[in-house]
């Protein structure tokens, strides 16, 4: 990959990486760090990365970075807080989009990652598998579970509203 191609990657993919990291981490500062780290690693390895595989390579780095951050955060979070976040419905939602966003936040890491890559970035199962290290079947089943959870959540919230 040339410098010009690297810069093109920055132009085309930095927004997506930032969005992906922001959605996963819910922390703008951390998300910015992920973007910087990701492109720093791409720059270091640019000689070995082809432009055609750059997007998957970048998202894989970003995904791993997000996982590291989440794991570190988990170590400092008590189990009670996690459980409370996972099942709490105390927020007040004003529209469907907010409800869906709230539901996405409650998805388990893997399910959240695969559905974000699928819907936000338009990746197929195979590419998602390359990024996350899952098989295509695992990707598909995780997406299914994520959608099923979101559907049930939306249905519940609809009843509440």
């Amino acid at each position: 990959m040339t410098t010009k191609e690297y810069n093109k990657c920055v132009e085309l993919l930095s927004d997506g990486i930032f969005r992906f990291a922001l959605k996963n981490l819910r922390d703008e500062f951390e998300a910015e760090n992920v973007v910087q780290n990701t492109f720093e690693k791409l720059w270091v390895r640019k000689e070995k990365v082809e432009m055609t595989t750059a997007k998957a390579f970048i998202f894989k780095i970003a995904y791993n970075n997000c996982i590291d951050i989440i794991r570190k955060a988990k170590r400092s979070t008590t189990m009670d807080e996690v459980v409370e976040n996972r099942y709490s419905h105390s927020e007040q939602y004003s529209d469907t989009l907010e409800i869906i966003n709230g539901a996405v936040e409650r998805l388990p890491e893997k399910q959240k990652t695969v559905i974000l890559l699928r819907d936000y970035e338009g990746y197929d199962y195979k590419s998602i598998g390359e990024i996350t290290g899952m098989t295509e079947a695992q990707v598909k089943i995780n997406i299914f579970r994520a959608r099923k959870f979101l559907k049930a959540y939306l249905k519940d919230m609809q009843l509440v509203i």
Binding site: D15, E32, I100, I115, D119, Y120, K140, F144, R147, Q158
Partner: protein, 271 residues
């Protein structure tokens, strides 16, 4: 009859576009006929996320520019190579005249006065100061009876000045640099030795040798020349030869009509 789990899977597959056209049309027909299934389909479709517009603001910081290489032309390379080769050739010559110990180097750079040993009143009381010892032996070229009075210009009863670079008492005739400097049109401002720039010292030394006389000066470190130039100053019209005696000392031989003098400059390590 398919259960809820199966129906969810069917709806999911249709949403993902994984059903064949026949399967899809069959499922759509079922949805039309079943209100609950239609509601489920609506909820399933809502699970398809729309990417929010997010802009990363730090793109400019990530953009890289190509590293600029300084383009050396062939001529520049040859010049650089020639300079490097010249320096490499000069190095052994330089080393030949360099004192080998670190202490000597330090001394050469910081000597503040010249002390003539073999003279009682020249021993400096400040023993801890770095010193350069200079032993001067005057040897007449002719038998003593034939020795002429030194030329007027060589008798230099110059008043001692603290600011002047001097050798102490005994070498009164060797002391004054200033009058000679004036005569030679050199800088008349006397300075402590340590304040002299090396390049200036070298310049003075060269000026002390008359241009019309072939100097046998071989060249030593400029900082050492600072001391030597003081000693040799009175012998303005003499031929001067400076040669290394050993690793710690340098021999200076003056030859003029009246004098043939040898000075040994030995360098002692700093205390």
């Amino acid at each position: 009859m398919k259960d809820q789990k199966d129906m969810d899977w069917e709806l999911f597959e249709m949403l993902e576009g994984d059903l064949s056209p026949e399967e899809e049309s069959e499922l759509l027909k079922m949805i039309e006929d079943d209100a609950d299934l239609a509601a489920d389909w609506d909820f399933m479709r809502m699970t398809q996320l729309d990417a929010p517009e997010v802009v990363y603001q730090g793109k400019d910081k990530l953009i890289k520019t190509d590293t600029t290489l300084i383009a050396f032309s062939a001529v520049q390379w040859r010049r650089a190579a020639a300079i490097a080769a010249l320096l490499a050739l000069c190095y052994p010559t330089w080393q030949l005249f360099m004192p080998k110990t670190d202490a000597v180097e330090g001394l050469a750079g910081s000597a503040t006065e010249l002390v003539l040993p073999n003279t009682d009143n020249t021993i400096n009381s400040q023993e801890t100061k770095p010193t350069v010892e200079v032993a001067v032996q005057e040897v007449p070229n002719h038998p003593p009876s034939d020795v002429k009075e030194p030329r007027k210009s060589l008798e230099l009863p110059v008043p001692m000045n603290e600011k002047m670079i001097t050798t102490p008492d005994v070498a009164n005739q060797l002391v004054s640099v200033e009058p000679l400097m004036q005569k030679n049109g050199l800088n008349t401002e006397s300075k402590p030795l340590e304040s002299l720039h090396k390049a200036n010292v070298m310049y003075n030394m060269e000026m002390l040798i008359p241009q019309d006389e072939p100097a046998s000066y071989n060249g030593v470190r400029s900082t050492i020349n600072a001391g030597l130039s003081l000693v040799t100053a009175p012998f303005r019209n003499a031929k001067i030869k400076v040669q290394p005696a050993d690793k710690q000392s340098i021999q200076i031989i003056y030859s003029s009509e009246q004098y043939n003098a040898t000075a040994m400059v030995s360098l002692k390590p700093l205390k």
